[in-house]
Symmetry: C2
Subunit: 226 residues, 2 copies
DNA sequence: GTCTATAGTTCGATAGAC
DNA sequence: GTCTATCGAACTATAGAC
């Protein structure tokens, strides 16, 4: 009976260790990449014995998946709730919808009190990665909410065909991810005029940019060449 | 006298080995990340002795830098030439300018005859990375052309203040990078309506999206909150 | 659940012959 | 420039005592 594949242990006695391992792994994967992170260093950082990491998460690959699943669950729950609420009172504007999709993503990345910044760096770097593990994890954790979001955009903008909506959604997400990982580049290139840590400005800019971009795709051919 | 820090050796006899190492390293870093790639495997793939990698590039970090510099030099040369030409005959449209900036990036990623696809995956994944090495390499290789591009956008759209232009440029680049690494996600989410490998469609979509987004930033406050 | 100990690999880097 | 040989360190994962 392996705890990693079962529901949480009854009393929740060692929830601290499990979570501490995930926190440390999140930081390590974000900072060093999958290959650069080591279970030894993660265990040391989490202040648990190295063997405990294998006891809870079996191996490095499953530990990585667990790190992603925890945060993706939270982001997707917030997005789902926002979508449900938005369409209760008729059809929202594109701006309202896109903000509902992007804000949870950006906010988690900017909320360092719960360690979200490390996850932000992590997801921002593996979103565009093409290796097998990154693609698998993205598909498993983010494809369902992506499809639901794409449907929602189509209901708001019926003129957009399905192909253009998918492109628009993927572009919007990549815009949001670019402000999620606070690399300091915006501040550097703007001589301090911009602030990577200003959540409200980054959300407003990303939403404005993405909405205009999505609308523009209606006028462009977005389809396979023959 | 270390060959890695000097100009190419006179006769160019072993240019094959040097380039083969870079090609193999590019593939390895793209596929496995910096930490996951190993010099041993790179040497094997390049069909050279492991010690030769150290002889030419000293260590893993400098090998990584060399991989980026080679491609960045090519992309930036094409972008520079395009910028020079564009402004020779007055002021271009925003669409022309943005296409000149994004097309070299996207095309190199789609041109697999010269191994550009591996570099595409590599740059797409480390662009948003916040670790020290990624930031250093990005700043060294891409900040100069970024500043020049930002100035060019401002000349085309004088209404845009500097902060908004920097945001717009960074968003546009992240849009381009999202279609550079062909992860197959667009095809999957669109049930085959979209094709990650269709260079002309991806360029047209990215340019249309980015131009509309940049223009929209003129109407939004893009500045640090007080 | 927690720990020690260790098997079995693989790694980056260098020394030194040719 | 090219190669062999190797050092020293780090790694994942497991076995087994408590």
């Amino acid at each position: 009976m392996l705890p990693g594949t079962q529901e949480q242990e009854a009393a929740g006695r060692n929830k601290g260790s499990r979570a501490a391992i995930l926190d440390a792994a999140e930081r390590a994967f974000a900072e060093l990449g999958y290959g650069g992170a080591s279970i030894r260093a993660i265990a040391r950082d989490a202040k648990v014995n190295q063997a405990m990491v294998h006891y809870y998460y079996q191996n490095k690959d499953q530990l990585f998946s667990a790190v992603i699943e925890r945060r993706a669950g939270e982001i997707n729950a917030r997005r789902d709730a926002a979508l449900d609420q938005l369409f209760q009172n008729g059809t929202p504007t594109l701006e309202t919808l896109v903000e509902a999709l992007l804000r949870p993503t950006i906010e988690i990345g900017h909320d360092d009190t719960r360690g979200g910044a490390a996850y932000a760096r992590l997801i921002a770097s593996f979103n565009n990665a093409a290796d097998e593990r990154s693609c698998r994890v993205t598909a498993e954790n983010y494809d369902p909410i992506a499809l639901r979001s794409i449907d929602a955009i189509r209901r708001v903008l019926p003129d957009l065909d399905r192909a253009a909506t998918v492109r628009g959604y993927l572009f919007a997400i990549s815009v949001a991810l670019s402000v999620m990982a606070k690399t300091g580049r915006a501040t550097r290139l703007s001589d301090g005029l911009l602030d990577d840590f200003d959540t409200e400005e980054t959300v407003a800019s990303a939403v404005a940019f993405a909405c205009a971009g999505i609308r523009a795709l209606a006028k462009t051919k977005v389809n396979k060449s023959p």
